[in-house]
Amino acid sequence: MSPSKMKNYRAASWDEPLVMQMGSEGRRGAILPSTEPGIVEVVGKGINLVSPSMRRDRLPILPELSEFEVERHYIHLSQQTMGMMGVSLFGTCTMKYNPRVSENLVYQPFISQLHPLQHEDTLQGVLEIVYRFDELLRELSGMSKFVFQAGGGADAAYTQTCITRAYHASRGQLGQRNEIITTAQAHPSSPATAAAAGFKVITLPLEADGYASVEALRAVVSSRTAALMVNNPDDIGIYNPHIKEWVDIVHEAGGLCFYDHANFNGLMTRVRAAELGFDACMFMLHKTFGGPKGGGGPAVGAYGCTEALVPFLPGPLIKKDANGKFVLEKEGPLSIGRVREFWGNVPVVIRAYAWTRAMGAEGLRDAANISVLANNYMEKRLLEIPGVTKGLPELTKRRLEMTRYSLGELTAETGVSTLDVQNRMTDFGVDAYWLSHEPWFIPEPFTPEAGELWSVEDIDYWIDVLAHVCQEARDTPEIVKSSPHNQVVHKMDGSGLNDPSKWATTWRAYLRKYPDRTR
């Protein structure tokens, strides 16, 4: 196979100041005419329409620009957005394209203009979509009910820890059951949310098969066990075949079992959490189900559970009455209350519904198969690159998705680190790769993952870019270490990142920290 031609990529770099530093005093976008006297006579002065308690005594500090300047500035910013439109093989995230047809759909007024406090008679259409999507996820997981309130995967994990608390409290066992068990390569939101909900956390280490051992689980399970929270596969990528035994062990001890389906892509239509014995599970609609992912904003962690846990779900729940009408049912007395407002991020649920219906059961299975194939194809080619090794070369079982690779050998030979390689790869139009959750347990890690979206040309290009950069690390290491060179911004000095006096996240904070440097 001949390597792909490296793209002569150049990111737009407008090098403009912040909008707060642009423009000139008095410059305006549109100048409106004064109110005609006749109108003032009837409605009074415009200012009087604002309650005195809400009026500003001083004008806010805003940039003063013409309309054209504003538009130009924001277009430039959008051109400088880094990532997610290159080749983005971002491990742990199953990045997917968000079909424009779904985007268009949710921008239509009949969706975007809805308000959750409208009378439910006027919300029947959207309630039906949410209800039907609940049914689709029930089919994929075997669970009894899904809610969409959680604003992401970690929020859904937190929903689980709150439900764990409420469940044991309802049985008078919360004082005794104060431990949650998870595994070393599970998503860090499991230990984090368990701790946030007040539980002690026991993390089982990775062992020789690529997952934690049954014996380790047996050693820690006790009458103090409140729940088990696991991913399967986790970030090592190998499916734990003992998972039913795990669930049985925890159930025998009286604990609940939660399946974090962040890594569902390779499993779609192949396993059902409830059939494995799990009490609850979570899907990320903003990843696996084709919804947009964005910095904790428009995300949804769909949380589903078995009948026994339904009374603890956050409300309101969308139900279908005997006449086929969709109703919002207030949560019951055992409910944990709200984890977020209303019924969640509905536009994302609609996108996920559209995506899942378009795929169909067959489509989901094909997608799962393609992504498993793509990841194993990548492994073969990646390991042919000198300097790239598998993080745990001992693990030879077939994987369902990503795994951790290591550039430790390359670093030892050339001094070029995985961060340098990550930066340099973005010079060729691919997005920065995912390194590893912390603490790093293998040297110089990187974790690529190819879902079903990517063509073989994209995957080959990504691998060829990595091979090219590894070769550069030997021939011209300085170029790699000082990269990126073709990106919007070049190599950053990260030394001030932990020193709040060195950065400001708002203009106000900037003025406070640097009073001498106003505009």
Binding site: I202, P205, L206, E215, G408, T411, G415, W434, S495, L497
Partner: protein, 392 residues
């Protein structure tokens, strides 16, 4: 000369790394003579030159202090650095004493960083001479390099020195473990085994290399382990005043002693009763005496990175008798989460020479990593075929 210039100590162990290629585990002691006989050649000087090469562009910013000849001066001069020679008695082959005298002298001369080329033996010699008074950084050139002072490669060592010279504030200095193969295993009988247990000697200061650690998904950077610090605080505050506490060697357990405001010994076993030190750097006999005197006790044991052993190496004072008296259920294991994450698989051996006690320790044991956070490690007893035959 050049009072304001950065003062860099350089020391090369010219015989380091020679044993590896001829199948010896290091060149400590008499092994050097055998290494030469077997045809080994020096490697540490090449590595040092490779490492220092990247400093050529900034050579006006520092002065090198090095012992004469092959121990550093030659290489530094060849690269064209301003070099001060420090006195040395050595003639021909060098010894641990030469290294130790040289680094003590460097400290007196006010060096800000000592760069050395060698292995664990050299690191240990330097540590024993100067402790953690000056940060040290190792260019990997030995056969054994388990101590935390070594850079990944000669190049990364050079880069780190360069950042240190240009802006010492940007480089973090942290405490790292000095480990070396336990004496009893460095020669003879076990040389066929592929694995050599190591012993913990103490904590040295070393510049830290991952200071720019950040990524697309995580903006955190490593600033020591907050979890284990908090755990040490929690333990220090919750000690029962009428119970005896024993602390095994290592920085993690020593942290608790420090929080209590006591002067213990990081490399040995200390004992605390009623928040007072009742024993420091104890031997087996003294521990047994304390246990008889005070009764019930808790033993805090740290997991020492790279050692692979929980009991029986580097802490032989904690004998089968001691463990029996303390009782395995009263042993509390502590580690930073990172250290445990880097052990794969998380198996630790015990070798106490007492099958009955070892059997009680075998299996999965809890390891505390932060307040309310724990993991498990698997304690393994090495198979002793002879011992079993005897038992039958």
């Amino acid at each position: 000369m050049g009072k304001d210039l950065f003062r860099l100590g350089l020391i090369i162990n010219p015989v380091a790394g020679m044993g590896g290629k001829v199948g010896l585990h290091g060149t400590d002691g008499d092994l050097y003579e055998r290494a030469i006989q077997l045809g080994a050649s020096p490697l540490a000087a090449d590595r040092a030159a490779q490492s220092l090469f990247s400093l050529k562009e900034i050579s006006e910013k520092f002065v090198v202090l090095a012992p004469p000849g092959a121990m550093g001066y030659e290489v530094s001069k060849i690269l064209g650095f301003t070099t001060e020679s420090i006195p040395s008695h050595h003639q021909g082959r060098t010894s641990a004493t030469d290294t130790q005298e040289a680094v003590k002298y460097m400290v007196l001369c006010g060096v800000q960083l000592i760069l050395f080329s060698g292995g664990d033996g050299t690191a240990r010699d330097i540590y024993e001479a100067i402790g953690d008074r000056v940060p040290i950084l190792g260019i990997p050139a030995g056969v054994k390099m388990r101590s935390g002072v070594f850079a990944y490669s000669p190049n990364t060592a050079g880069e780190l020195v360069r950042s240190f010279i240009l802006d010492a504030k940007k480089v973090k200095v942290h405490q790292v473990e000095i480990l070396d193969v336990a004496q009893e295993h460095s020669l003879g009988e076990n040389s066929n085994s592929t694995w050599q247990p190591s012993r913990f000697f103490g904590m040295a200061a070393a510049p830290y290399s991952r200071e720019y650690l950040q990524s697309a998904k995580s903006m955190s950077s490593v600033q020591g382990d907050v979890g284990i610090d908090e755990l040490a605080q929690e333990i220090a505050q919750s000690l029962n005043p009428s119970r005896l506490y024993l602390f095994g060697p290592g920085a993690t357990t020593h942290k608790i002693i420090q929080i209590l405001g006591l002067e213990g010994y990081v490399g040995g076993i200390d004992a605390v009763f009623n928040r007072q030190l009742v024993g420091k750097d104890l031997g087996e006999h003294e521990i047994l005496e304390l246990l008889t005197r005070f009764g019930e006790a808790t033993l805090f044991l740290g997991v020492i990175g790279g050692q692979g052993f929980l009991l029986g190496r580097g802490n032989q004072q904690l004998s089968a008798k001691v463990i029996d008296l303390v009782s395995p259920k009263n042993i509390v294991l502590l580690s930073s989460a990172e250290k445990i994450a880097k052990l794969f698989p998380v198996h630790l051996q015990v070798d106490l020479g007492d099958l009955e006690i070892e059997a009680q320790l075998e299996g999965y044991r809890e390891v505390l990593v932060a307040p309310g956070r724990s993991t498990v490690c698997r304690v393994i007893v090495p198979k002793r075929v002879e011992a079993k035959e005897e038992a039958v």
